[in-house]
Amino acid sequence: MIQTALTDLVYGFGVALEPHNLMWCFIGVLVGNLVGVLPGMGPMATMSILLPLTFGIPPVGAVLMLAGIFYGSQYGGAICSILLNLPCHPPHAVTCLDGFPLTQQGRGGAALGITVISSFVGASWGILEMIFLAPVLVVAALEFGPGEICSLMLLGLLAGSTLARGSPLKGIAMTICGLLIGLVGSDVETGTPRFTFGIPDLLDGVEIVALGLGLFGIAEFMKSVNRLSEVDTRYTNVTLRDLRPTRDEFRRSVPAMLRGTLIGSLCALIPGTGPTIASFISYATEKKISKTPEKFGTGMIEGVACPEASTHSSVQGDFIPTMSLGIPGDAVMALILGALTIHGVMPGPQLISAHPDIFWGLVASFWIGNIILVILNVPMIGLWVKLLTIPYKYLYPSAVFLVAIGVYSSGNSMFSVGEVVLVGIVGFVLLQLGFHPAPMLLGFVLGPRLEENFRRAMLISRGDLWVFLKHPISAVFVGLCVLLIAMQIFVRLRTPKVLPIETALRAER
């Protein structure tokens, strides 16, 4: 097995090192790092803006670039958290707790250095996990019939909506709304237009770019306008020399790094628990097993190394269910799946065998991208830190323009720009009502496939709904769904015990 994996990996490096693919990967991580550093900009909006621009290039390059934006932004986000104490990227919110005190003590550079090392260690492990686990999952998944796929999707959607941030009920409501938005347009089997309200432009369905940019672009800008105060740039004078941790700092962070990596890779395997949850759990664990838990929050280097390593290992691990089963764990992965579909690549277990260039090229590009990121972040740290001083008042108007022109270029129609405005308003109202928009995108991407597989399963079983329990694999998935719901009810009935760090972070947001 190791032999085939290595052969495939060598093939992947061949794909990823082709000059144009290397270029897309480089552009991706560069842009990702950039938006990660800038406070108030997120990878979701960036990926949605750049998605239409990838229509002209081959699918491999497109996926390498979009993935690069995602993991690149994780590197940049840590800089923003440690030096400015701004938890604007959820996975790095916990890093603020110990990263910023370190900055105040003048060790911000060392924290950044440790972050880069931890990130690379975490990411490397995540990639290894992907190389060996994804093909195994595929072998199992190829046996799945429509019934199994259906219950697996149900599990993915349920996990994605209940384990993410916010109220689980509201998450489920958002997922169902997303599924419904996914149904807009002509019905695949009969051609009947559904929920189009007589508008011919809606017959092809809602544009994924318009939905993503409305929810994660316009709605986010409206939420943060005049709210992000002037950034405190007192500590943003970091040079290459400052990055070197002391021997003691390094010695203390290595075990924390490894623990974080492990926790992150485990979290990646549970659908719905992305990097944010991984970083929370790892910080809490690190604090619990530390000999000096009371010192956490005052600038412990372990409190930086552990969550950062787990974030990165879970970011890479997130790709496993997405690429091998076609079930995205969060909104970012949903967007990448959407991009694949637009490029005519069917996501699912057959992806690795049908498009080995995409899968193995992507895996190889992770290594290359992470190395590029280390090179970008270590010698050029001064430049990234300078970027932190760009005020939000110049950023968001430029971003609004990019949103408008990006969505226009996705279909060269002004109608989709109108869609963005409408989705933006709806998304903003939903944010105000305490709904998180991420599960909506998840539902939107899976909606049509869920319906198709449900119809097929019913056709095969002659309308017998018990078919989902009769097949053992499917029954396991359904059982896990029930367990998930039971767990939520249990948590709800018990007195809410919120972790102190969680309350602290919520207050900051």
């Binding site: 316009i218 306008v225 323009f401 308003i425 009502l433």
Partner: protein
């Protein structure tokens, strides 16, 4: 005042979801339902609509029974109507001006108006920003990526 607001917000949220669910369910009845074996286009939306209604009622239920939570910020704690309107006006102006006068006018307005939404923005800073971004946009999208929207046009 805070906690009552949070509760009110959940009432609103639950009500909205329930209403949407009922709406979808009734709308799906206008398509043919078919049977479970041969599902029509209305069956899946009807299932989803029913589920949505159920979830909406559950949200309402938790709003009634649950203790008001403190760590959620209340509904519309700081209203920035002017800034919100400016941001939304950006893409809307992009549509209108893009159709009437072409890319340059559309881009300029799409940056200039949202920029005015910031409290510290001045007319001069907004014009400078808008001009810069327009130049960048024209170079990237029109010259490099060959977007079919003409730079200048008059089309009523």
């Amino acid at each position: 005042l805070g906690p009552t607001y949070a509760k009110k917000r959940d009432y609103l949220a639950g009500g909205l979801v329930t209403l949407l669910g009922v709406g979808v369910t009734f709308n799906s009845l206008t398509y043919s339902l078919g049977t479970l074996v041969h599902m029509g286009p209305g069956m899946f939306p009807m299932i989803l609509g029913t589920a949505l209604t159920f979830v909406g009622i559950l949200i309402l239920g938790t709003a009634v029974t649950g203790a008001p939570s403190e760590n959620e910020h209340p509904l519309l704690d700081r209203q920035e109507w002017f800034a919100w309107a400016c941001i939304l006006a950006g893409p809307i102006l992009f549509i209108i001006l893009g159709k009437l006068f072409g890319l340059v006018a559309a881009s300029f307005a799409c940056v200039f108006v949202p920029a005015l939404g910031d409290r510290t923005a001045t007319l001069k800073s907004s014009v400078t920003l808008a001009a810069g971004v327009t130049l960048f946009g024209v170079l990237l999208f029109s010259c490099l990526l060959k977007m079919p929207l003409p730079l200048f046009q008059i089309d009523f």
